[in-house]
Symmetry: C2
Subunit: 423 residues, 2 copies
């Protein structure tokens, strides 16, 4: 297995020291070149490795799979090989890309076919997402929201510390990084009005999230324990669960958010494998009161992933408005999955399970404008002299994330989305 | 176009007068025979017409489509032909099955290939469902729930008459009629307890619903007006949105139902086209207060579909526990779809949009045990001498529905699911 935290491992492909994609990472994606069909790839430095051509060259012989799985619009068939084969695949790619391996390194003709600059390709959504679930598992986020909208003294609802609260989201409107969308319109009820109105959302917000992608299916009736949950998690992405706060306020009682969330979500194009992230596991919050037995888990299951959010106004520079960390999750992925399947709900390869907004304990680490501007009462100053309570038209919101340890940086790339004016 | 309400139209295939599937209906499904691959079909009487063989015989030449769309596990590619071609397809089938058309009638060899008894085939889930949305659009149901759990004097929440409340459901656990599933387990908090417990659901319920299947996709940002909504609705099915009431009570604040709903839903195997249902349109409730302009609609858009629910205990006979009607919907499908897309949310062929529990104004027409037994205070007597507040292990719940007018009955078949004991 690739040692993600081995700093001595180097590739003959040059990788900048600040790159998210050293040879220790090798995340999976789907790319397309002009006039060609989509293909599976891995990232290294500022390049993509075309796995279909890589396989055609014979480098994946040991995998013993139908090579057509790499000529696909989605990674689902690759993930469907199972964790052991995906591990072997990353190992085989790593071996060929190793600095001292001349096999591909010294063959310019083959390199041209197999390796492309990221700037020459377009990244597509990496998986066909079946069902999308959004959790609400950051205690600082839930506490902030509770303080703002409910009782500051009893910010968390009674169930919050007993189960990872979640709801079903909409898969159809999940878009890959680099997209733009029009500000949603919807029904809202102004505080001083008797009747609702319809028009463009006035309180458009991002939600800084991570998402994990299911790598192994279950049958209806089956439950996944926290002990084996990792076998069902293929990898992680960045995720922006765009939210229309004013639409949500009016619509969400009693059945939860609907049109406030399903107009667009942004996913990063690279799925970083759970294997690559293992060296960055860390302890999470102490769970008190004690959770029910089916939610207990052993070991350190949080992951130390530095996260940040930038707002980039049209024709202006980026402004980092939040620095958070995935380690601030109260409920771990393993608990989320155990809970999700505790009733026998079946999961499929490609299902996406998002964390919910990830806020840290300090104001600069909050994961949404709602919290950062504290419901609009504390505008955020930008470098261009403007300020933001929420997101303006023509703003681009960019999320980034990476782990770092002993000189190895395992990153996620970007989840970037731009807001166009309402239609 | 087939005149669904023309009682004079007869087929050479014998159709019982109480059959759901006269030649005026011709709903679509997916069937499989032992040792064969799944195929698209239409129902007539107690038979299925294999559309792949029907096409091979040359009867669908005028359609001018790739015949492979009929050799598929899902109807999505058939629906993807578009409404005009689906209309033509039903017309071509109708013509060949017409009592006076000898073309297939008099060719026993071809009939053997094309037509099978329903009892000799297995019906599969008819569509690959992308996203599943569940509305909450029956005013009698919402009022009943409000009376039981909130304020009897103000049973409806403030937003209820202004927008069709909805939430996203889980697609993966939607099963076709005839399935069984284990009683879900989950977290509940007994009223007299300080802490939640984990165990089998004690208040398992059905929800009598109809669902419509999307027949035409939109792009992100696009909205569908009530005036053209019917162009996007392919047809309807019966739908049982099984619910664990005790799990729901504890988990659902603030983000809505999650594990209380996603352990199983039952769909009927036949999609009855909107075309076949047009003759049964009827007026709905008066909407007061007036809805916002984007929710206004013209004409009669409810549909008069008789619905009923039976409980069948193990080795015992059926007991009809509810007789309701789809015409009792406060919000129409056209309004639901206009609302769903009002924020630019994109829809795909095969998306499923369910009505929410359909209750009528009288106790015998309520669409869930929660209402029928009024929260367990009024048990329902069954013929075998037992009673039910909710659903017991080994009970089968069967939903049926049909329209009837001028001697023509357009039915839906069954949505039947059996509850096995918790694992």
């Amino acid at each position: 297995m690739i040692k993600a935290n081995n700093p001595d491992l180097k590739s003959w492909i040059e990788v900048d020291k600040n790159s998210d994609f050293p040879i220790q990472n090798l995340p999976f994606g789907i790319f397309v070149r002009e006039g060609k069909l989509p293909r599976a790839c891995v990232a290294i430095g500022d390049c993509v490795v075309d796995l279909a051509e890589f396989a055609l060259a014979g480098y994946l012989r040991d995998l013993n799979v139908n090579l057509q799985i790499f000529e696909n619009s989605f990674l689902n068939p690759v993930i469907g090989m199972g964790k052991e084969k995906c591990r072997l695949l990353r190992q085989l790619v790593s071996d060929i890309l190793h600095a001292e391996n001349p096999e591909l390194r010294d063959r310019q003709d083959m390199r041209k076919k197999i390796i492309h600059k990221m700037s020459d390709v377009k990244m597509l959504i990496p998986v066909r997402i079946g069902d999308y679930t959004d959790f609400y598992s950051s205690i600082d986020h839930a506490t902030n929201v509770g303080k703002m909208f409910r009782d500051p003294a009893n910010a968390l609802l009674p169930n919050w510390k007993h189960l990872p609260v979640a709801y079903h989201g909409r898969s159809s409107s999940i878009c890959v990084s680099g997209h733009s969308f029009h500000r949603p319109k919807g029904q809202t009820k102004p505080a001083d009005a008797d009747l609702p109105i319809f028009g463009p959302c006035k309180l458009l917000d991002f939600e800084l999230e991570m998402a994990f992608i299911i790598g192994k299916q279950t049958q209806l009736g089956e439950s996944v324990s926290t002990a084996v949950a990792d076998d069902y998690i293929f990898g992680l992405t960045l995720f922006n669960d765009w939210s229309a706060r004013d639409i949500q306020t009016w619509e969400y009682v009693p059945l939860g958010p609907f049109l406030a969330k399903n107009f667009a979500s942004t996913i990063s194009p690279w799925i970083v494998t759970l294997d690559a992230l293992e060296p960055f596991r860390t302890a999470g919050y102490t769970q008190e009161p004690k959770v029910l037995p089916y939610l207990e888990y052993k070991g350190e299951k949080n992951i130390d992933i530095h996260l940040e959010v930038s707002i980039q106004p049209e024709k202006s520079e980026e402004n980092i408005v939040s620095k958070s960390n995935y380690k601030f999750m109260y409920w771990t992925m393993e608990q989320q999955l155990a809970h999700h399947t505790s009733n026998g709900c079946n999961i499929n390869i490609g299902d996406l399970m998002a964390s919910g907004t990830i806020s840290g304990p300090t104001p600069g680490s909050f994961g949404s404008m709602l919290e950062l501007s504290w419901k609009g009462t504390k505008p955020i100053q930008l470098k261009d002299g403007t300020d933001r309570k929420f997101i303006n038209d023509n703003d681009t919101v960019i999320m980034r994330g990476y782990c770092e340890k002993e000189g190895v940086r395992i990153g996620f790339g970007e989840a970037s989305g731009k807001v166009l004016p309402a239609l």
